[in-house]
Each structure stands twice: as C-alpha cells, then as structure tokens.
C-alpha cells in the first residue's frame, strides 16, 4: 500500500517539537557538565549560561515555526470537523496535535533553561 506523502510528513512533524525539546535538554546538560568539569574558572557557570540562552532562543524559534505549521494545517480545512474519520479530519487533528505538542515543548524548553537563569555557580 502506498501511503500519502502528506500524511507521512504530518507524522514526522508531530514529533518535531518534542525532538527539539529533547535536543535542547541534551545540549544544555552536556554543555554545563563539560563547562564545569573542564573549562570553568573559579566555578563560574558564565559561558555555559550564555550557551544555554542561545540554545533556548534557537529552540523556541524552531518550535515556533513548528507551531505555525500545525496551526496552518489545523485551520486550512475549517469546513471539516476533526472528529470524523476522513482525510480532512485527520489532517486537522494532526495539525492541532502538532500545535499542542509545540506548546508543551516550548514550556519544557523554558523550564529546562530556568536553572541557568538562576544559578551562576558550578557548585
């Protein structure tokens, strides 16, 4: 059975925002760990905090783009409800799920970055 390329794309986009969140967490954690273990002078978290701020800005921008894509997909078929088993309904549902996951991921990215905002020391 040949699947619709559009549907396949939709499923990938569904995990895009949580993937960005997990990458943000991984990069932030590894950066802080390596910084404190190898590079920090006087146990200051300085450089790692800047890096985490940059990762966060990039992650929020990317998640924003995913959310925009989800919103557009959800709204483009306004005539069709998304609770019936049709192709249009599925597209709208997936768009809405992408949007909600993007919102959750954005909050998670902020929470992951908050320690770097409040804590200045490797201690």
């Amino acid at each position: 059975m040949v699947k619709s390329p559009r549907l396949r794309d939709s499923l990938w986009m569904l995990i895009a925002a949580p993937t960005i969140w997990s990458l943000h967490f991984l990069f932030s954690y590894v950066t802080a760990a390596v910084w404190c273990a190898k590079l920090a002078e006087g146990a200051s978290l300085g450089g790692a905090r800047t890096a985490v701020a940059m990762y966060s800005a990039a992650a929020i921008a990317a998640i924003g783009a995913v959310a925009h894509y989800g919103w557009r997909r959800h709204c483009q078929e306004t005539r069709h409800p998304h609770d019936v088993p049709t192709s249009h309904g599925r597209q709208r549902f997936l768009g809405f799920a992408i949007l909600l996951l993007a919102g959750l991921s954005a909050v998670a990215v902020v929470y992951g970055a908050l320690p770097a905002a409040f804590i200045a020391s490797c201690h």
């Binding site: 919102g103 909050v107 929470y111 908050l114 409040f118 804590i119 200045a120 020391s121 201690h123």
Partner: protein
C-alpha cells in the same frame, strides 16, 4: 498510657500531627534551609487546598447547581485557562522560587568552619576544618554551633548516598568523584537526627547519624577536645581492652590517635566513647552495645565490611567495650 480517640477524624489527626515534630521532622525546623522548605511546603499545601476546593466546587456546580448545557465559549475558556495557562504559571512560579533558594543553600565558605562528610557503606566519615587550618577526623556524628553558617562538603567513596538532616536543611546527593556543597545554619540548640536519603545497599536503612546543635562556646570546647589524643587506659580492665584492641588487629582499620592504631579504612575511634551513638546512629553508646557490635557486626549491620569477632570470650568483649567506652 491508654489513649481514647473520639472519632475517626481524631484518629487521622493524631497520625498526621504525630509526624510534625521529633528529631527528624522537616516540619519541626531548627535551621535556615529547613525554614525555607517548610514555608514552601505550607504555601504549597494551602495553594493545593484552594485549588482542590475550586475544582470540587466547579464539579458540584456543573453536576448539581447547573446540570444543563454550558456555552462552548465558557467551556473553552475554562479548559484553556484552568487546564493550560494556570498550571503553567503556578509551576513556573514554584520552579523559579525553588531555583532561587539553591544558590543561598550552597553558598561556599568564606573562612568559616568547613565540615567534610564522606558517605561510605554504611557510615559517615566526618572531617572538621577550622579557619586556622587545623583539621580533625571524626565519624558518625555531627555537632554544629547555633547561629553560625557552616559549609558542609559532601563526597562518597563507593556508591551514591544522600545527606539529609530534615530539621536543618534539604537533602543533597553525595556522588562518587564529585564534591557537593550544603550550607547549614542552625537556629536553635537541640538533638536531631540525620540519615542517608538515597538507597545505597543492604544496610541503607542503618546509615544514620545524630546531630547536636550547641552554643558556640560549648561547641568550641568540644571541637578543641576532639583534637586531643586518646586518653590512655586508666584501669586494669581498660588496659586489657587496649591490648586486645591491638592484638586482634583492630588498629589496621581504625585509628586511635595517640596509639599505634592508625588504620583509615573504618571510622576514627579516638573519642568514640563520647559520641551519642554507635554503628552510625543505630545503637546506644554503652559497654553492652560495644560488645554486641564487635561480636555480631554482620547481624547488627548486614553487609558491613568489618568482620564479626564472635570467637572472642564474653570477658574479652566486655574489656574491649570498656576500653572503647573510656575513649571520651
């Protein structure tokens, strides 16, 4: 004493309130860190109660007061506002407040007293370092001066342990290869209890320690005493105990400063007779407990590295106990 409890509610209250005080209660605070944590707890408990009343109130409203259909707009507002926006704001506030507390609770020392505590299966190696650079190694007990911030540096020699004196501050992990820090500032004198708060093996539950918060002058005198060498045995029985201690090889693992015993594998015993407990907070400190610990070590604390000396005669065990008890 016979207790009569008037109602099931009374019984529940007794159980709940019984957990609020005692030497190991995070709600019976005696330190700056614990005060912050207790404030946070009570604030969260009050907030949770308000939210619970609100949710139950809405449920009653929707099912009893106005069971009919509600407008889609109101339902949407309630779902998005109460289910998404409100929890996000509350959790962000709580996370930010918790993170704000961390730097203060881990403030490094500025020339004050430093206490290094190393977790080992299943006891605590404690080293005091004063501002004048002198150090002394003790074990299984913590004494602190009231009103002074003390930096506690935490390490582990084997597995992950966690250091927790609920009445004084929050808990923090002791990770092999890393030094973690905690600032303890007791606010009142008293006897408290600390414990390992991270499962660390079969005798994890037997890894505790007494904590005494003292007036600064009494603390300074106590610390000065701890620097002193061990008192030589003064009675025939304690002399026999001291000879047995060396003959049985105890000095290979334990140090008694001022004698030939200089082992570093087990706890320093120079002033063990003056400690509040034996075996890391699990036995009272008396001759009988020493004899039991030495003869049945593996029963008292399963898995411990110290071998049991059950082959010793009762009189030898008591002589050893009296010698160790005399090390005040």
């Amino acid at each position: 004493m016979a207790l009569r409890i008037a109602s099931p509610t009374g019984a529940v209250l007794v159980v709940l309130v019984a957990a609020c005080d005692g030497p190991q209660s995070a709600l019976d605070v005696a330190g700056d860190g614990a005060t912050r944590i207790a404030d946070l707890f009570w604030g969260m408990a009050a907030g949770a109660a308000v939210i619970w009343i609100g949710v139950v109130g809405l449920a009653v409203y929707a099912t009893r007061v106005r069971p009919g259909e509600h407008s889609g707009r109101t339902a949407k507002l309630l779902l998005i506002g109460g289910g998404v926006v409100f929890p996000t704001i509350v959790l962000t506030g709580l996370l930010s407040y918790g993170l704000l507390l961390i730097p203060e609770l881990r403030e490094p020392s500025d020339g004050r007293l430093i206490v290094s505590v190393t977790g080992e299966q299943w006891w605590w190696r404690v080293r005091y370092e004063t501002a004048d650079g002198r150090t002394v190694e003790l074990a299984n007990e913590l004494r602190l001066p009231v009103g002074e911030a003390v930096e506690v540096r935490l390490e582990s020699r084997d597995v992950i342990h966690a250091f927790w004196v609920p009445s004084l501050a929050g808990k923090i992990d002791m990770v092999p290869g890393r030094v973690t820090r905690l600032s303890l500032k007791p606010t009142r004198t008293g006897e408290f209890r600390g414990a390992c708060a991270e499962y660390c093996g079969e005798s994890h539950a037997l890894m505790a320690f007494p904590v005494a918060v003292m007036e600064p002058a009494a603390f300074a005198a106590w610390l000065e005493d701890q620097h002193a060498l061990a008192a030589p045995p003064s009675t025939p029985e304690t002399e026999r105990g001291a000879r047995l201690f060396m003959a049985m090889g105890c000095g290979s693992c334990h140090a008694v400063r001022g004698t030939a015993a200089a082992g570093t594998i087990g706890p320093d015993l120079t002033h063990i007779g003056g400690r509040a407990s034996l075996g890391a907070g699990i036995l009272v400190n008396d001759v009988d407990a020493f004899a039991r610990w030495i003869a049945e070590t593996d029963h008292v604390k399963p898995g411990v590295r110290m071998p049991a000396f059950g082959m010793l005669a009762e009189s030898d065990l008591r002589a050893l106990g009296q010698y160790l008890e005399s090390l005040q």
